[in-house]
Each structure stands twice: as C-alpha cells, then as structure tokens.
Symmetry: C2
Subunit: 241 residues, 2 copies
C-alpha cells in the first residue's frame, strides 16, 4: 500500500512548542522514518528536539533540491511508493506556503500519493488574522522589487488593486531591508491606507500593529531590523483626499 | 492594565482535537471569562467541549453584530479596556480569515488593545499547502458570482491573471453548489490548467486531489455535494495549445 506524504509545520523561531503544534503532530513525527526537508542539518536538530524516539542517524532525511526535475522528485517519493509515510518539513513555518516543497507535493498528486496537511504555525495566516484587515479577499506576493523606483511602482500598483477589490495585500522583505521597506510604505502609500506590521509572530519578539499611514508617519518607527516581518496593506475603498 | 484580544481557531467540522489545537490554546481558553463569538449557542457548546472549568452560563459570551458601528465594537471590547482578556472565536476555522471578526480586530488596534493570534486549523491554508500549487504567490477571492454567465467571466479572468503572475487562485462555494462549480471549472478552464479540490480538510471526510483540467475531465466527478470544499487553480505560464 502506498504511503502518505505528511506536510509538517515547524516553529517560526524560538517559541514554546505548546503554542505551536497539536499533540498529534508530534506523535506522527515520532513514528515517521522518512523525511524530506529544506535543510538536513537543522531538520535533524528539529527532529531530535521534537523527541523522536529513534537515533536521528538511523532516519532517512533527504534534502529538497533547489530546481527539481521529475526524476529527482520521484527518487524522493520512492519510499512512499514502497509503502512508507514521508514527512515534509521546511526550515520554518508551513511547507509549500512561502516556502519550498510545492513541486514535491504536486508530483505526489501526479503519482497518486495521498497528501495530508498538518496544522501548525504560518506567519502569513497568523498575521492576516491579527491584522484586522480584510480576510475575505487577500493576496500574497512574496518579495517586492528591491530597487527604489521599481518598489515604488509595485507599491502603487498593489495599493490601487487593493482599493479596487478591497483586497489585503501581503508581502515580506529580506529582514535586513525591513526598515527601508517600512520607510517606503509610509512615504508612498495614501494617508488613509491601513498598514499592518507583524513582527516575529509566535515568538517572544511578537509585535503586531495596524494603523493608517497618516498615523504611522507620526509614530516612532518600529524595531524591525533583521527581524522577520510580514507587511499587510489595505487601501480605503473611497479615498478621501 | 489593558487585556489582550486572543484570536482562537475552532474545528472545521467533526475531528479529533489532538490534530487541531496546540495544548496552550486549550489552556488559554480555560482561563478566559470573556468571549466574542459568531454564534453564541454553538460557541457555548464548543467552550464546554473544550472542557472550560467554569459553568458556561457564568461566562460573558457576546455575539459579533453583522454590521458593526464603532460604538457596538467598543462595547464588545470594553472588558479588555477594563483589564480582561477576550477570546474571539468564529463558527469554524480561524477568526477574521474567510470569516467574521476583522472589524473587531481592527477596532482593537485603534484602541491600543494587544491582539494575539493562536495557531489552529484554516481550511484555506491547509488546502494551499496540500495543493502542490504555487505557495509563493496566491490570492483568496471568497465566493465567485453565482450566475452562469458571470461565473464563466470570473473564472476566465482568474485563469488569465493566474497565468500572468503564476498565482494560485483560491475560492470557495456554497456547499450545495459545489458540483455545479466543479462542472464549470472543468468546462471553462484550459486543459493544462491545474485544479485542486480540497474537501472537508482536517475532518474524517478529508479528500484532496490536484490534477490538470484535461485529466479531471476523464475522472469520475468527486463527491462534493453539500460538503465544504476549497477550490484552487493555477494556470500554466506557457499555455500549450
């Protein structure tokens, strides 16, 4: 019988596990002997930390290749074809969402391997919940362009689309560029557009605040430097100018 | 000291709680005495089921109004101003994402009340993880138009945008219209567009499958009638025609 591909979220940073994982997620991990992971070294440490009963060197832990042809994915999924369950884990958060793994999952569907997603922390979802912005319509855009001029164009376009569809626009930035992104947002966006800054969600440094651009301009800039942050923007439908 | 607004996910349907909630989510719920909920009757049952130590009639359980002016939201948040923590719960899944609650959260930010999102089940996020479609760029659109002609236009537009941005398009349908939506999707979309059908995620009836439209057309139609389902679509970048 074909095994199952389980998608197992991991912590977003240093945090108490009792806030992050349903008990069955841990029980499941303990009985798996095959893993596909983003980074083998940190995955071994994570699997140990989760209290896996087997010596970690006896487990099959394979890394996801960066650009995977079907043959490489098939090799990673071979244990499932042979009847073993496989756990897919990324470095942080939920596999295959703003993280690698989607191509492996897609190939699993093509091969008829059952895919089961496990509940766990997602910085995007938790930030959206806590933002107070529109959760009925939203889009995630990954990283925006880095160059100033291109970033300004991208932000104006996202704001325009947000206003038209009342859509919450979600994006992330390389942590050392967070302050530069924050400054661009408060400069470029309209005063009545709402911005949520969600920093280090689920960890000790968690800090989430939503305000209008007009009010952000008067507040002290938040401490985001080199700290993982999700940015969320919602433009007012009827712009008051 | 001002209380905190906790956003507490609940089950998506009949399911074993050990797969859904981190232990701290239950511990937290047990110490709360103030709740704002989508439906008071089902929330009382849920809070009892979670093993809340206090008799449920001694708890303050208020319903979210459908269209809430700030004064109504302020009344709901008054306990937090008075120093009590508040739990926000919707009928199923994560509050404020494809569910009511965002306006209350937004008002909490305006009043300087700390907002803390708790990890738990989200049908949208779990479906996206398990779809194998693009998790680096995606958008949730809620419900599409019901009328045939309007739905066809909306689907064509979503497919076009998906192809252009390699964006996964996510939407839901009223469960008794799921089969009609499935038929529209397999009729309207291009043969090489990928469709994921994610039914009753996290519950006993969970069934998740991704395939190209061409192959869906040859498969037996899935049993989606009156069963909560998330639809996800990704169009190939270079359409082969």
């Amino acid at each position: 019988m074909t095994g199952t591909l389980y998608l197992i979220p991991v912590a977003l940073g240093p945090a108490a596990p009792e806030w992050l994982h349903p008990p069955a997620s841990q029980t499941l991990t303990h009985r798996l002997t095959h893993f596909v992971v983003e980074n083998a070294k940190t995955a071994r440490a994570e699997i140990k930390r989760m209290g896996h009963p087997a010596p970690v060197q006896t487990l099959s832990i394979s890394e996801l290749p960066k650009h995977a042809p079907d043959t490489a994915l098939d090799a990673l999924l071979a244990p499932a074809i042979a009847g073993h369950d496989i756990g897919l884990m990324s470095e942080a958060g939920c596999p295959a969402v703003a993280d690698p793994g989607a191509l492996l999952v897609r190939r699993a569907h093509e091969l008829g391997i059952r895919v089961v997603p496990i509940v766990g922390p997602s910085s995007l979802l938790l930030s959206l919940m806590a933002s107070g912005l529109n959760g009925q319509s939203f889009a995630f855009h990954g990283y925006l362009p880095v160059k100033d001029a291109d970033r300004i164009i991208a932000l104006r376009e996202l704001e325009k689309e947000s206003r038209k569809h009342q859509r919450t626009q979600i994006f992330i930035e390389t942590p050392y560029r967070n302050l530069s992104m924050f400054n661009a947002l408060t400069t470029v966006l309209a005063p009545d557009t709402r911005l949520c800054v969600a920093r280090e969600v689920t960890t000790e440094g968690e800090w989430i605040s939503t305000d209008t651009i007009a009010r952000w301009r008067k507040r002290e800039a938040p401490d985001l430097d080199r700290r993982p942050t999700v940015f969320l923007v919602l433009a007012e439908a009827s712009r008051r100018t």
